[in-house]
Amino acid sequence: MNASALVPLPVVLPLFGAGLALAFGRSARAQRIVSVVVLALMVVIAAVLLVRADADGPQVTHVGGWHAPIGISLVADRLSALMLLVSVFVALCVLVYSLSQGLVEYGPDTPLSIYHPTFLILVAGVANAFLSGDLFNLYVGFEILLAASYVLLTLGGTADRIRAGSTYVVVSLASSIVFLTALALVYAATGTVSMAQLAGRLDDLPDGVALLLQLMLLTAFAIKAAVFPLSAWLPDSYPTAPAPVTAVFAGLLTKVGVYAIIRTQTLLFPDSELSDVLLWAALLTMVLGILGAVAQDDLKRMLSFTLVSHIGYMVFGVALATDDGLSGAIYYVVHHIVIQTNLFLVAGLIERRGGSTSLERLGGLARLSPVLALLFFVPAMNLAGIPPFSGFLGKLGLMQAGVDDGGWLAYVLVAGSVVTSLLTLYAMAKAWNRAFWQPPATEPDGSAGPRTDLHRKPRRTDAQVLTGKAAVVMRAGMAGPAAALLTVGVALTVFAGPLIGLTDRAAADLRERTPYIEAVLPGGAP
């Protein structure tokens, strides 16, 4: 069986499913079945692609029979397939979670008919970005997922979400414009946008021109990935969205930016002059991001800041430009997609149970709901990098790569990542203490100190909407996916050996460049 026939499916299937879900807009049940089936199929396909890409090298499809330098090629190499598998799995978990939440929030009879199609289109965009073999298709993938994310972020059109949405949309538009301009300049300079062909042609350009192109592409991707100083939009815009939307954004969207940085840095600009700049950006992203998290009073905002902060680890690994650094970065991306999504889902559960995500209002959840406490505790410790967990392994790998590098800046980065890790632990411990351990806050009467969340009405808790058995079922439907992600997070530790073996091979491929180029352009670049 030739696996390359499967390569377009992760893009085509969700688009098809989105159309189907839209057609079934009146039947919530049909919509649910379509989306779950589509995403489950995608998980299987992505797994097959990963196995084949690992065994036989990159799987390539030339869409429409137009071959590589001219037509659009979709490529699933080890990195793409791994990212695709993790992303689609996470998306599936979030979707299952949102099924139950949607029932709780809107009741079983009033489906939000736009949610499922948009979610599937978002996944299609993510898959397209991961599989794309040329820069312009990467741009299209970005636009697909961004357009879907605009809709998801402003779902319902409440004042809060419109405010958050306008920041997000304007910033995303700016990054898209930079990217598109870079594409025009790349084409003007080299006459191609196929990445495999660009890899050869960019070497022949004058240094200044290549540097300009690299800077523009990096800027565009750094905005998407929320790398400091281009990260300020993220904590402003993510927390107001519904919990599943925030979770899927946190897990996937920034990581697509990180993926694009990895791909372009390794394939197009292997001898980067910007390594030091990237190292500084990584350091500032880590430290400033986590300092922001420490200052927050709202759990979702705190998590958004840790998200920004930990992007720094990935950029650190990429900037080192060694096999170990890249491998560490890829492992960290996988770990972070799972853990960060998990934490946001749990934040949604906390909002359900406690009626708020503000740490001012929460309290006593450990006694109220021990399961919820466990669901929060494990990923929180994982994120902070407590030894048995994958967060520790990822950070350790990156630090070792930094020490091996030996430069003073690399040592500064290692120190910075230790500090960031400790501060993450501090932020997580603070959230844990205040939401779970301290006695529940007394009924807020307005005089008990300044309230920061006056503009945010407390949500209805599930107990107020559904009672008895139905509430239990709904809660299980939401806790189940969170527990599944938690299990995968732990599995990342248990199966760290094979996984790191895989990321090592992926990193070696990326550094070598030839497997990718030869798979896309079998006869060599014209």
Binding site: R163, L173, Y187, G449
Partner: protein
């Protein structure tokens, strides 16, 4: 390769005007800025495609006379994307106008509130005085300096700031 200088100048003007509008607060102006820059990028693709030639249809024209079809395909894609995004932005600006009476991009409330609290040097309301014993001991060296700064309220908490102080 010869380049069309007029086209390059048009690209520059469109970008400059677009960036200026993009920096405005009103969403409608941002939208116009995006449209201008979008057209600027499209013109830039035309610059990138080299001198204009005949229609790139095999069999109709000689290959050497054809213009490069690839950038044209990209421009078409970009136009469609800009159209979609424009529609969304318009809808969002309209909704913002409905809600606020204007379509300005607003500051984040939460950021502002945290900054205010930092300026007033407040602790969060869940901060436990008995757990903060070490802090008190450190401060106990110079109580006379600390006392006048924070006037304790009737129940030992910092004087409550009324709701009027919270309003923006």
């Amino acid at each position: 390769m010869s380049t069309n200088l007029v086209l390059v100048a048009v690209v520059g003007v469109l970008f400059a005007a677009g960036v200026y509008l993009l920096l405005e607060r009103s969403l409608t102006r941002v939208l116009v800025g995006v449209i201008l820059i979008g057209n600027g990028v499209n013109a830039l693709f035309l610059v990138a495609s080299g001198p204009a030639g005949r229609a790139p249809i095999v069999g109709l024209n000689d290959v050497d006379d054809m213009s490069d079809p690839l950038p044209q395909a990209m421009v078409l894609t970009a136009i469609v994307i800009t159209l979609g995004v424009t529609a969304f932005l318009l809808a969002m600006a309209y909704r913002a106008g409905q809600l606020n009476g204007n379509d300005d991009v607003q500051d984040d409330v939460e950021d502002a509130s945290i900054r205010r609290r930092a300026e007033r040097d407040e602790v969060s309301s869940s901060y436990d005085d008995s757990a903060g014993g070490t802090m008190d001991e450190e401060g106990a060296d110079e109580p006379s300096v600390l006392q006048p700064v924070v006037q304790p309220g009737p129940d030992g908490e910092p004087a409550p700031v009324g709701p009027e102080g919270e309003q923006r």
